[in-house]
Amino acid sequence: MLRLEKRPAPSRGWTMATPVLAVVLTMIAGGLMFAALGKSPVEAIRIIFWDPLFNTQFASYARPQILVKAGPLILIAIGLSLGFRAGVWNIGAEGQYIMGALAGAAFGLALYPSESPLIFPGMVIAGALGGWAWAMIPAILKTRFRTNEILVSLLLVYVAEKLLASAATGLLRNPEGRGFPGSRQLNRLDAMDNPELIANTGMHWGVVTAFIAVIMAYVLLNKHLLGYQIKLAGQAPRAARFAGVNPSRLIVLCLGTSGALAGLAGLFEVTGPAGQISIDFNVGYGFTAIIVAFLGRLHPIGILLAGLLMALTYIGGELAQMMLQIPAPAIQAFQGMLLFFLLAVDVLSNYRIRINTEGVA
């Protein structure tokens, strides 16, 4: 009989190995699902994981696109991971992402048609502030009135979506757009464009910021007192209090940072790849980033890798749809399996499996 025995401390080896194991298990279970749909599992897995990187026909275009897709995921997930480590659960990054894009775009469009080189930096600041301010709502409600930040931040996503729809059809609507919803095309205006910095690499300011965020988070968590406090508050809240950690300050800091980073992700997206404020501007990066944060073990380097992996499955998933006509929901189920298996195999890093030789009583 199998028995689980709690480890005194999580196994280091398994903590590193479980994400790889989860990917392998996802490939097996996903392959079975594709087979059940009548598609070749080997070919499907190859198209999803291999073709975007190495297929001669697609790779030169798909590789940079992985960075474009991973950039916002990593940027948001880094912010979320700080809070998650401290036990502050910001589930509303999607809303903060929208508000960052809205605030930044509104700043830029208010100054249209100025060509000042200060406009883009101003939009970046406005974007960060927009996301930060939206995250401050759950932060203040939690510190003042002890409301649950999970609920408040999540529900504010829906409020942000309504504001987005309203802005796209009203306040920020392109006056030359024949009454159709959607703002001016920001990535076509030199003053507001977030361009590809090096041709054919997919690198834009958002990707650069994501890499900087990874490094900053790494330094913060490993070298800085605040990082220590964040970790302590998550692992031993009582001990943290004795150590002089101010829980309210930590909540405001964690929510504020994750909100600002999500806002930045939104701003870089709206001025770059997306190009305009439209009704359906948000496509779920804020929610997917939660998966990325956990897939990456809340560790900055892990998140970097997880973001790239997630982006790969998106792009490969589209290719699989196109080449094999695998339905989109099957691709989503495949991505869902990844998180499911990761959480499931987590048990191995926290528990030891013992085979009970004494027999069942």
């Binding site: 030169s60 059809t169 009203g170 190009g275 439209s278 749809q321 196109m322």
Partner: protein
Amino acid sequence: MKPFTKLVTASAMALGLAAPAIAQDDPLQVSFVYVGSVGDLGWTYEHDRARLALEEHFGDAVETTYVENVPEGADAERVLTQMALSGADLIFTTSFGYMDPTNAVAERFPNVMFEHATGYRRDHPNVSTYSARFYEGRAVMGHIAGQMTESNIVGYIGSYPIPEVIRGINSAYLHAREVNPDIEFRIVWAYTWFDPAVEADAAQALIDQGADVIMQHTDSTAPMTVMEEAGAIGFGQASDMYQFAPEPRVSSIIDDWAPYYIARTQAVMDGTWESTDTWDGIGPGMVGIGEMTDAIPEEIRASAQDMVDAIASGEYHPFTGPINRQDGSEWLAEGEVAEDGTLLGMDFYVEGLTGDVPN
């Protein structure tokens, strides 16, 4: 990568792109990008039915592929690029929000033909636009609704306050008022094209306000379920929604894209394809009127059919003056017919409608 190798790769890519158009023996590859799921039983469902009709019509001469649930914006641009790279000869982009991605990708792939639904931008010679005159169908539904209501209140679920939707509201209202001067329209904006929960709430809100006939410009069948429970009636939108007949679905406006898709594919095969702007209605068959059920009294069915025939033959235009704007100013004089330009940018209600167009 060195600039030189990059140049070589780029030209190799360009040659690779040109190849499918030259190789006539291969089946023509026609690709579709969908904003929703092929199982939405509405907008995307109808585009996919047309894709299947295309396959059936041409047999082995065409090969079709599609990607569903593609968000508008950056993702659409990537999917379109990958389609072009995979050798598509003709690509249908079936949502308004694909307008910019379509034109951006078309610029990079001059040998691939693009067809963008419901948009107005044709920046490059390899982009066409097409849409349907849904307002013609709305006129017929309004004609039926005005006579079927007992409370004289017609509910209308709007998606977004854009010209297409406003045009539909105006067309439905004008023809409901024509047969019932006491008619009142209540409009709820759902701010979504497809969200069963929101649409059901909107339908319930309209029923609570006394509406017994509901028109929807959103794509799910959720309002039908609510109408069924409340004993109200309504009309299928985008697809027939015949599973709700004979009541609550008493008729429907059907988007039939198959004839257009077949014609455009044929044009690519014949080498006669060129950039065009198509806006077809009931006449050419792009807008279909679903079977009117027995729930509608016979004489109303007959007069509605007369209207369908008159519109189809071009004898009657649903926007024929005298029509005033909501503020009472004159829009169309007696006998004057609306110009397409005004209709395409319609941002005002006609006289008699209450409330404001949002923003």
